[in-house]
């Protein structure tokens, strides 16, 4: 499992409209690593710290106005929780992967590999600093 995840996270997002007035936005609906689903309360807290409007809810982290905003938040996630990467995959892409696989291991590998992988390139540098100062 660790070999697949390499301390990274898979995030599945959806383009969703909860009301006609608000229009459609992006929401992160599932975030998991090799230990399973992440603790949503912490992620909601991180979202609320970043944005003035409140997070929609535990099962829908957002709203994000654009994929760019979603990517920025994902980088923030990496920074805050020390992930090596976030592999972002849309619900449509997820369903395409699901249709193409036959077993859970293949699904997991493809989810990690097929998404838009945002690497935490500062992660290594931080470790060096930690070693210098601790």
């Amino acid at each position: 499992m660790e070999k697949v995840f390499k301390e990274g996270v898979v995030g599945i997002y959806q383009n969703q409209s909860y009301s006609v007035e608000e229009g459609s936005f992006y929401y992160l609906t599932h975030l998991f690593d090799e230990k399973g689903h992440l603790d949503y309360d912490q992620i909601v807290q991180l979202y609320n710290d970043q944005y003035t409007h409140p997070c929609h809810g535990r099962k829908s982290i957002g709203p994000f106005e654009s994929l760019d905003e979603l990517n920025k938040f994902s980088f923030k996630l990496c920074e805050e929780f020390d992930f090596s990467f976030v592999s972002l995959i849309s619900s449509g892409e997820y369903n395409a992967v699901l249709e193409s696989v036959v077993d859970k291991d293949e699904l997991l590998t493809k989810l990690v590999q097929s998404g838009n992988v945002l690497e935490n390139i500062d992660r290594g540098k931080k470790s060096i600093f930690k070693k210098l100062f601790h």
């Binding site: 499992m1 599945i12 689903h37 997991l108």
Partner: protein, 594 residues
Amino acid sequence: MEEMTILCGEKLSLTTPVPRDNDVVFPGENWFFYWKTGASLWEAKLQECPIVGKILVPINWAFHTDTGDQFDFADQRPETDLKKLVQIATKLGREVVFLLPISPAPFLLNGGVPHLLSRSLAISDDGLGYSILDSEKRLNKLYSFYDPRVFQAYAKFVKALGHYFSQKGIDKDIWGIECGYMEEGQFKTYFQDSSRAFEQAFGRFIQAKKEEKREADPNDDTPLISGIEDEKFFRHEFKNTIRNLYLDSAKAALNANWEGDLKYSFLSGDNEEFFNRLTDHYSRREYSEQLFNALSQGIVSSSVLIPAKSKGHILERQMEELVVQSLSQVTFTDHLYDEDSSAIFRPFSFVEVYQDLEGYNIDKTWQQNGLNAYLKRDFLRTFTIRDNKKFSWEKGELSGEGIHVVSGRSFDTKSFHSVLKLFMNGGKIIIDTSAMNEDFKRRLESFYLENSLNLEKLNYVTNVQNISLGEGRLVLLEGDVLSGVSFDKQLHFWERIFTTFSIRHLRIHDEYEVDFSWRKRATSASELNYEEVRRLSFYNGTSYKKKMNFQVPKNFVLVRVIDQINVKVETTSHVVQVEMLPGASVSFDFGIYS
């Protein structure tokens, strides 16, 4: 025979646990997966299996057909010979009950849909295809039941199944099962689907509705759907229409054996849990919560998706005691009043709360007026939530036991008559008269006058009226007023109301964070000084040691302490102290007397 898949498609390592064959064939709760073993082994397996009570056999549609047109009932594969299965069970003195999925089934490959018809993935509310890991960690993708070809094939199958049962003289009960999972206390059916197949079928449904509307009134220009609420309403209506199509076709084809239909909640059957399972993690505390939420709505739970070795002692025990030995016994047994049945500890509740469970919006009536919060505080695990449709005297759904709480908002003529009949037969009913039709209010008043009933009126937080007739009681109150008062006042109000019913109960509060359940049974010949026997079971699913104590109330006698695992119990006059290690469980039997 379907290939044994224990070793196929899995990466083996020295540490990979291999499921035992019996765990695959008997995945839990007395279920028997006949397709997972050779027919020549059925007798040996059924003989050696530790199942007590009826054997529940789900019917695997796809196993009996490859194409959806031709069906195999022992013509080609002996494993499709359900008649032989029944004969073997009968020879061994075992009773069989068949379960026929009337929805996508998470424990079957492709949700039960034959391979050639598995075209459109069923999509859940979060936009993701339903995907389930079964007890062998195989990936089951669910396919949409809204594809017309799937329905046509299903209808053919159940017809062929009915014909086969009739021809072979198989007289065993069949229950239709609607499969789903519990999410935040609500039952979610796998019929909830937003796939392409659903959208296309829904489009056709809306067209037909528009035609209907045009024909009814050609001058009416108003749009059929003018907003989100309308859309939700029609989506919901469409979903129910299709669900009923499957149910009705199964009922009609299997009429001679049909016993009814049930909702089945599959633990770990939701998408969130899927991603935990994908990484080999199991949320056992969450499964227990799902189990208790399902029980509070009279829904049967199943742990067949979870590998036997991953269930854990606490969940296993809960499933065995609360489902297998209790709810399933009550659900699947014909004779509730014979000697054997009186020994069963069955689920019970003091309060039955009726609300709209099948609507497209969550009914918040009882949340807003504080009743839910009060019941969770003082009657935790002893109140049940039922759908409004179940409040029916004609259908025999109502018992004289317990207090029925209904909302006048949802009244129709049937439910109104049910209130009166239940009351006249000694039933106790609390009615929230807010938004009750004025006509029903007038009819109630006429009812009091015609029967010379004494009406007591009181103004406490809101207007309360009480009418008694023998054992029967009617309490009418305006619940909407309660929605505007403080939370503490709401709790105090309901506490005062329920105190007037003199319910003999030992209240266990949630503060200990230990799961518990109440069941009851009739007394035996040696227990005639009691009216009934109640069993209180505790389960510590946490990772912490727990210390609790409770006082044994008047009218209760602690008869025995049983099934202690990692527990220390001390009893002094009327106080019981319990110390539970992580994973501990214990049960207390109380005799109840007047």
